[in-house]
């Protein structure tokens, strides 16, 4: 009986082998959807809506608000915009599958505003090879800024700029004081550390951690025992909150500077009791600010994405919308991906909610500049004279 199964299996595999040879020419053509022939431009996004990283998924609503806002004004390049957004739970394996779905099944024109360093890292090369534009991903990871990635357009300041902003500020105001950095031990935390070192020269204590860590007592005790006066935190939101709370509970109050990704969420003043006085890097206006660009965004959120607060995560989506719009704005039929990319590469000092953005054929730089906020009485204030311009395209 077994022999028979084997024989059948052998026969089947030979058949399969022949088939696979016969079919070998399939699936090698360029990605579909490269040219817009209908009256709608479909954009694709992946963002975590579930799992521990779900809060960043709010960027979907910022993008929806932008699309609603543009469509209400008659669309762009004579077409309406539409978004298909999938939940990848912040898992690169899911992003890989979902981007295939967006490109081949849904035939989107471009991937826009997808969130997360590891998730985007999983797909950016494949998308670039397939000549599908990947615009304004939610990450400042240096890998996306490498030259030669023709179809990849990051819009955030690169993470090293974030670190340089902190370092420059410390050098100016706290020169000579012992400083420490707690950083996430990955492609997010390490470039920030590198930026800090670049502008500050040296760091007295460096403490790496992984996101799953919840008890930072030992780290805080170590900093306190070493007499550290300035602590910079290259952390995600939850870890940043845990560390600052630990500091308060151990009666330790150094100068604290958070990275922008750790302080954008709405509930931060509830989550960290000792936030007052804490600094944070930023490339967006503080939530609730009277900046006209923020007001435009907040008003659109209220109108086109009701029920979703205009927070920093939503603003990331809005930023992605702004960049995409700039690439489409002056295009005439036929609208193609290559025309879109060429148009993006002409943008110089393009003003967005995240400041000025520069792209050229040689360099896709994204936002140039960052500054600092400081927590005061339950809201963020911009620290005067704290701006840092990391642009190399001057």
């Amino acid at each position: 009986m077994k022999t028979r199964i084997f024989r059948s299996a052998a026969r089947a595999s030979i058949g399969i082998a022949c088939l696979s040879l016969a079919c070998s020419s399939w699936g090698q053509s360029a990605a579909p959807g490269a040219t817009i022939d209908g009256d709608t431009i479909v954009l694709g996004q992946t963002a975590a809506q579930s799992g521990p990283q779900a809060p960043i998924g709010a960027s979907k609503w910022g993008l929806e608000a932008f699309i609603g806002y543009v469509n209400a004004k008659g669309g762009v390049a004579g077409k309406k915009l539409r978004l298909i957004s999938y939940d990848d739970s912040y898992q690169p394996a899911q992003t890989t599958a979902l981007d295939k779905k967006l490109v081949y099944e849904d035939r989107v024109f471009a991937i826009v505003g997808s969130i997360g360093s590891p998730t985007t890292a999983a797909v950016y090369k494949t998308l670039n090879d397939a000549k599908v534009p990947l615009v304004s991903m939610g990450s400042g990871s240096p890998i996306f800024y490498e030259p030669g990635l023709k179809y990849v357009f990051p819009s955030w300041p690169i993470y090293t700029t974030d670190g340089e902003t902190m370092g420059a500020f410390v050098k100016k105001h706290f020169a000579g004081q012992p400083v420490a950095v707690i950083y996430q031990d990955d492609g997010f935390g390490k470039p920030i550390l590198a930026g800090i070192k670049k502008s500050l020269g040296k760091v007295d204590v460096e403490i790496p951690y992984v996101p799953s860590q919840v008890d930072f007592s030992s780290a805080v005790i170590k900093l306190k025992a070493s007499g550290i006066k300035v602590v910079m935190l290259a952390t995600i939101a939850t870890s940043g909150a845990q560390i600052l709370n630990q500091m308060a509970s151990l009666a330790y109050a150094p100068t604290r500077i958070l990275t922008s990704s750790a302080c954008g969420y709405g509930g931060i003043f509830d989550a960290i009791k000792s936030l007052d006085g804490t600094y944070c890097t930023a490339f967006l206006p503080p939530p609730g600010s009277s900046d006209p660009k923020w007001k435009e965004f907040a008003d659109a959120m209220a109108k086109y994405a009701p029920g979703h607060p205009p927070d920093i995560y939503a603003a990331w989506g809005w930023l992605a919308g702004q960049v995409t719009y700039a690439g489409l704005e002056k295009l005439k039929a036929p609208i193609t991906r290559d025309a879109f990319v060429a148009q993006l590469e002409t943008l110089r000092d393009f003003d967005t909610i995240a400041g000025k953005i520069n792209y050229s054929a040689q360099r896709h730089e994204g936002s140039c500049c960052q500054l600092l906020w400081q927590a005061k009485g339950g809201k963020w204030d911009i620290v005067p004279d704290s701006g840092f311009n990391g642009s190399a395209m001057k």
């Binding site: 077994k2 199964i5 084997f6 059948s8 299996a9 089947a12 595999s13 058949g15 399969i16 082998a17 088939l19 696979s20 079919c23 070998s24 399939w26 699936g27 090698q28 053509s29 990605a31 579909p32 809506q49 579930s50 799992g51 779900a54 999938y86 939940d87 739970s89 912040y90 898992q91 690169p92 394996a93 899911q94 890989t96 599958a97 295939k100 779905k101 490109v103 081949y104 099944e105 360093s117 590891p118 998730t119 890292a121 999983a122 797909v123 090369k125 494949t126 990871s141 890998i143 031990d185 990955d186 492609g187 997010f188 390490k190 992984v210 799953s212």
Partner: protein, 325 residues
């Protein structure tokens, strides 16, 4: 006859790419999804060999998949090794890891293996993230175009057949193993460790052997996955994936290849259908596991077959729990 049904299914799977040609380029996505499913099914079958056949729990099978995927990716990136070499090396490394873990853990009480593998899954993640000079850290590794024995298998269709053949071969191997001395020893240990020992089965060593076989297959599946996705990253293989594999085996009905594959279909479907709501797929899968164990101990397999067997006789360590019935 289940064998005939299996052959028909394999034939249908082999013809699927032909049918998919009618939808043009959209097939790229569907071929990927089904290929990915084949790889998951291999892992489910391998885990079933351990859980369903030998009665040992692993909560870190994604760790073995990760080990295989990383081995294949690193060898491919640095030395240009092909898919087959990646599968062999990945499988062997996973097997070695399982030997180190399994030797102390299986000698002891059954649940130790569950806890130790849980830790293993977490550790693989952490080490892959930390050792970035080798693994690329959180930025992962992008692989070159997959080659298999000199043949370019880089198209979606060819990768589909690679995954399908791997699944068929895995299923055949596990099926045949079940008909041999070693396979019977696995089942004997699951049913009653004491009686198995009295029949001359070296219980601890055989448990480790089952663990190694299972880890080897999972590692080889990981290598295929690496080439299929073209990318490997630590977050791909977290505890969530291990729980998914676990759910596939339980829902499908432990101790059957068809059950494991069917379980993979159901779990994959639930995962995709419920993905957009936070916690929903976790809750559904958890609920399914509880319901299956309480009301359908045979899982999908038994539901489909409707073959009823009388209650098993009191045996082995379970007898302790049964005494108070």
């Amino acid at each position: 006859m289940p064998q005939r049904a299996a052959l028909v299914l394999v034939a249908l799977c082999a013809l699927l790419p032909l049918a998919l040609q009618t939808i043009g380029e959209r097939q790229v996505y569907w071929l990927f999804v089904v290929s990915e499913f084949f790889v998951f099914a291999i892992v489910a079958v391998s885990l079933d060999l351990l859980m369903g056949r030998t009665g040992q729990i692993s909560l870190g099978h994604a760790g073995f998949v990760a080990l295989g995927a990383y081995s294949a990716a690193i060898l491919n990136q640095r030395f240009g090794l092909d898919l087959l070499a990646g599968m062999v090396v990945g499988g062997v490394l996973a097997g070695v890891a399982s030997l180190v873990l399994g030797f102390p853990a299986t000698r002891l009480r059954g649940h130790y293996l569950g806890i130790v593998t849980l830790g293993f899954g977490i550790a693989v993640d952490q080490i892959a993230l930390k050792w970035d000079s080798l693994t690329g850290g959180d930025q992962g590794i992008h692989l070159h175009r997959p080659m298999l024995l000199g043949l370019d298998v880089g198209t979606p269709v060819r990768m589909y057949y690679v995954a399908l053949i791997a699944l068929v071969v895995t299923a055949l191997l596990v099926y045949c193993l079940g008909q041999t001395r070693i396979g019977r020893a696995f089942a004997a240990i699951k049913d009653s460790e004491i009686a198995a020992a009295a029949m001359g089965v070296p219980v601890a060593r055989t448990k480790v052997l089952a663990f190694i076989c299972s880890a080897f297959l999972a590692g080889a599946a990981g290598a295929i996955y690496a080439f299929l996705a073209g990318f490997v990253a630590p977050e791909n293989f977290g505890i969530e994936s291990s729980l998914l594999f676990f759910a596939m085996v339980v829902v499908g009905g432990m101790g059957s290849i068809g059950g494991a594959i069917g379980g993979a279909v159901v779990v994959d479907a639930v995962k995709n259908a419920a993905a957009t709501v936070s916690g929903l797929s976790l809750a559904i899968l958890g609920g399914m596991i509880v319901l299956v164990v309480l009301f359908f101990p045979g899982g999908l397999k038994a539901l489909l077959q409707r073959r009823r067997r009388a209650a098993a006789p009191v045996s082995g360590l379970d007898g302790v729990a049964r005494q108070d019935a």
